[in-house]
């Protein structure tokens, strides 16, 4: 029982924020992708972007990274959340530890993982001390794109799993235990309880976590640059390159729009895949 305008009133503050601090500057920037300095409409910036030799690489790298990181991260976070829920003692301490990376910026995370992987880094020190290697190995050399990729994936998983974890833990806390009990009584194994009850009931949180995570994944930048240098161009690093090194705001805007478009496409996909049927809401 509510007036039709109530939802809109509730959205108003957020919408105002978005309009002033996002939509307005966004429009100005997006406009640049389609118009020249003199105001003529053109698609040449998109052509310039698409025909640049790094564009495809950056696009593919970005997608590959997201593909390698996000699903694993979701699975890991879900697993960690269930571990936490099964704990009695030490739960708070473990959760706190697991949420620590939340407070670590991507710049700092890049720094930390660089310290591990670089040639005179901890990993080499460790291997050296163990006598596995004589000479430090240049893990991050440009020829080892695979290792660089792996290092970035590790760092991203380390850094950003807690984002997903926190959302899921909070979501799991709201699932009444009676449903798990009912499932158990009806013969569901631990795994079945998880897939048939916990996961479906967690859908809203899963959806949120996944969307946010995917979007952030398309914007990976600092960690990639820290570990990969220019070896693994991604869309976001190209935005920076075009904006601040090549000083071409038009093409940079075009790149940004590409990121936006992919993000929205994936968002819609996830929203659709994890939708909750209308009657099935609590």
């Amino acid at each position: 029982m509510y007036s039709k305008s109530l939802p809109y009133m509730l959205l108003l503050p957020a919408t105002l924020f978005l309009c002033i601090f996002f939509i307005y500057p966004f429009t100005l920037v997006a406009w640049q992708a389609f118009t020249t300095d003199t105001g003529e409409f053109t698609s040449s910036f998109f052509q310039e972007m698409a025909s640049h030799w790094k564009f495809n690489t950056a696009l593919i790298n970005t997608l590959l990274l997201a593909l390698a990181v996000v699903p694993f991260q979701m699975a890991l976070a879900i697993y960690m959340a269930t571990l936490v829920n099964g704990m009695k003692r030490g739960r708070d301490a473990v959760l706190y530890i697991w949420t620590i990376p939340l407070g670590i910026s991507d710049l700092a995370a890049g720094l930390i993982w660089l310290a591990i992987f670089e040639q005179s880094g901890f990993l080499n020190s460790f291997l050296h001390t163990l006598g596995v290697v004589e000479q430090p190995v240049g893990f991050l050399g440009y020829e080892n794109k695979g290792i660089i990729f792996l290092a970035i994936v590790l760092a991203e998983i380390w850094r950003a799993t807690s984002i997903v974890l926190v959302i899921l833990v909070a979501g799991m806390g709201l699932i009444p235990k009676e449903y798990a009990e009912a499932a158990e009584v009806f013969g569901a194994s631990r795994w079945q309880r998880f897939t048939r009850v916990t996961l479906p009931m967690l859908k809203p949180s899963l959806q949120t976590a996944m969307i946010l995570r995917v979007i952030l994944a398309f914007e990976v930048f600092a960690v990639v640059v820290a570990l990969g240098g220019t070896n693994l161009p991604v869309l976001m690093s190209e935005v920076f390159t075009w904006q601040y090194e090549l000083r071409d705001a038009h093409v940079a805007a075009a790149y940004a729009l590409v990121i936006l478009a992919i993000s929205i496409a994936f968002t819609l996909l996830i929203m659709w895949a994890l939708r909750v049927p209308k009657g099935a809401r609590v």
């Binding site: 009444p176 009676e178 009990e181 499932a183 158990e184 009806f186 013969g187 079945q192 809401r281 609590v282």
Partner: protein, 360 residues
Amino acid sequence: MAEIKIKQVAKQYGSTHALHSIDLTIADQEFLVLLGASGCGKTTLLRIVAGLETATSGEVWIGDRRVDQLPPRDRGIAMVFQNYAVFPHLTVYENIAFGLRMAKLPQPEVDKRVNRTAELMHIEALLQRYSGQLSGGQRQRVAVARALATEPEVLLMDEPLSNLDALLRMEMRAELKTVLAESKTTTIYVTHDQVEAMSMADRIAIMNKGEIVQAASAVEVYRNPAAHFVGSFIGNPPMNFLDATPAGDGFWNVGGVRVSGPAGGQAKLRFGIRPEDIRVHPTGSVNASTEQQPVFSATVRILEPLGSHLLASCKIDDQMLRVVLDSDDPIKSGDELQWSPVSDRVRWFDPGSELAIASV
């Protein structure tokens, strides 16, 4: 073979004793009804049998296996939860099919069973709905159907019909009874409805404050309550109790009338009579002093019409007495009522131990 043995099971929540040492054996295929006051531990007991709660001490056996350490799914049970626990994310169909899918039944079989139980519960029209789109009673029936569909060896039902109307409940009762007898299921059934208990139970177990006070057939429990509590708890209205003081020679003074009773040395007893075992004498038809049987008199205070009957609450010596009258009895509040107990229906209780005294 699914006999259930509950041995000295106790349960504490922190400092709350929900169950004191419970001993109870439910025979294979028996239909046991658990009756007891709100908060006496019925649900707790069911949950311990189901394996959803760990007993603080004691053992639970199902068939030949001690099941204390087994997870619920290995106990061969199904349960109807007091608060239904119908999965909100599944349709009614999928809710009912849940246990069957867990058992990996082939789809045609699932379909058959779901449709059969849904029909039994009169929810066949709702199969595509979600639980959020059901009324309370409909949701409850889904919970029952879900449990029935799995055809378990042991079925635990926690007030499964509490939200159904009388008509439907009567129907369900009959059908449940038939179905469970056919499938040879051992059942523990919690209810607050005594008619339900009486009409369905092979045996009724009466619980009070975490203990089982009596476990016997319906008639036995009704006629020969093992304790004051049982008498006062079973029967609607419940048994009347009047204080009795010794009058010598195995006679007792009850409400000013000399009544023959147990010959014992107790300083006090309690005289129990069920309202429907009271014969009211039409006004002026008896003379208390000349009658063979004891004749009591009581003052009518409140009259409650109950449709088919009239319930009169009366006073004898400041003690309360309820009498069931025919609904067209022309009695009025304030009238003096003369009555006698049906003689072999009088029961005596020890006010100290609250237990019944073996009939004389």
